[in-house]
């Protein structure tokens, strides 16, 4: 599997929604995504202002993915946008919590709630 098959992205109005399509990624796939900075690159290439990362079935990830999220966040901030994460596994939530990244972005249960969050409409986690 190539890293481009690891996730899908779509533009919903001015929100880039990135959804992972895999349950587990190998180290080399995370390394390739990290090298290409795929998430921030996709965001910068689009007309999106906000971003949602939907982890769906991805059971775990590590520091390389956290760096990718940070780079995406820098790109979102540069456009005065908002970012949210959703559908994290139990371990995924722990990783985000341990890193204190839940202080940077809301961690939502569903993509719908993440959408409300970035669009700031009646937001509840």
């Amino acid at each position: 599997m190539t890293y481009s098959e690891c996730f899908q992205s779509e533009l919903v109005d001015d929100v880039l929604v990135v959804s992972f399509q895999i349950e587990e990624a190998r180290i080399e796939e995370f390394a390739m995504m990290n090298k290409q900075q795929v998430l921030s690159h996709k965001f910068n290439k689009s007309r999106a202002v906000h971003a949602i990362v939907d982890f769906r079935q991805l059971s775990y990830f590590g520091s390389l993915m956290l760096e990718d999220l940070l780079q995406l966040w820098k790109a979102v901030k540069a456009k005065d946008g908002r970012m949210a994460l959703c559908n994290l596994s139990q371990t995924g939530r722990e990783i985000i919590g341990v890193s204190r990244f839940d202080q940077l972005w809301p961690v939502c249960e569903t993509q719908e709630k993440a959408m409300q969050s970035v669009l700031n409409r009646n937001f509840t986690k």
Binding site: R26, I27, E28, A31, N34, K35, Q36, Q37, S59, Y60, F61, G62, S63, L64, L66, E67, L70, Q71, W73, K74, S89, Q90, T91, E94, I95, V98, S99, R100, F101, Q103, L104
Partner: protein, 303 residues
Amino acid sequence: MPRILVVDDLLADRRLAGGLLSKDESIEVYYASDGVDALDKIEEHMPDLVITDLQMPEMNGLELVQRVREEHPLIPTILMTAKGSEEFAVQALEKGAASYVPKKHLAADLLETVRRVLATSTEDRSFTRLMNRLSEIRFVLENDLSMLSALVSHLRHHVQHRRICNDADSIRVATSLDEALLNAYYHGNLEVDSALKNESHEKFHELAKSRLREQPYSERRITVIARYSPVEAVFVIRDEGPGFNSSVLPDPTDPEFLEKPSGRGLLLMRSFMDEVTFNDSGNEVTLVKRKEEHVAISCEDHE
């Protein structure tokens, strides 16, 4: 003599399945009337195989398949599906059932399916028993990320099968091993500094790639030793680089460093393992994961 537990709330169906199995005189059959009863009977008889109906009160067949998978991973399950419930067969296989048999084909297929599943599970069980006697294993790997992935997957499988960890904890172990191996690969053997990522992630990875072909980096290896006991797994990961001082890393959770790239791997290791220590030169890390009840005992010892 293989012991088989037949689970069905309908007495007639239990008798039908049991009768078919009894054609093989070497098979000993036990019965349970629903999923909850089945879990008790599993504890009591420790069967070699569980055959279950799908629709039952208290706990249905799918839930039972999942519980057996979680609590007794060495006991295979076979689901009996009635007409109109074929879709559940796929779900059962996803939840860990070894096979399924439509009820209308029980007479023709049940015994053959049971023999096939038992043959496979006996082989798996023997292999697992053999592997459980492995107390130490050592890998010496060149700098190849795909090999590191394969190794993490192997070690995760081991801690799970040895029941040192449940599924969730084995994911935490895999996360920590990923991080320790990435440190050994990038920062240890290839000596590429995370600070380069402040400039460009591409430069960081390009430098790593070019060093894979340059001496002395290209000749360095990563040694991984896994030691297992009934109560813990110990992983020693050593690179052949000059080492580093882990105490000088900034705290990545400090608001000042929250958006900086370094230190998060070590943070994850420390969060998910019970013990993380470096040798004096900083090129060897030892990660310890203890079985849950022994973590509690160990904590009490320190009080």
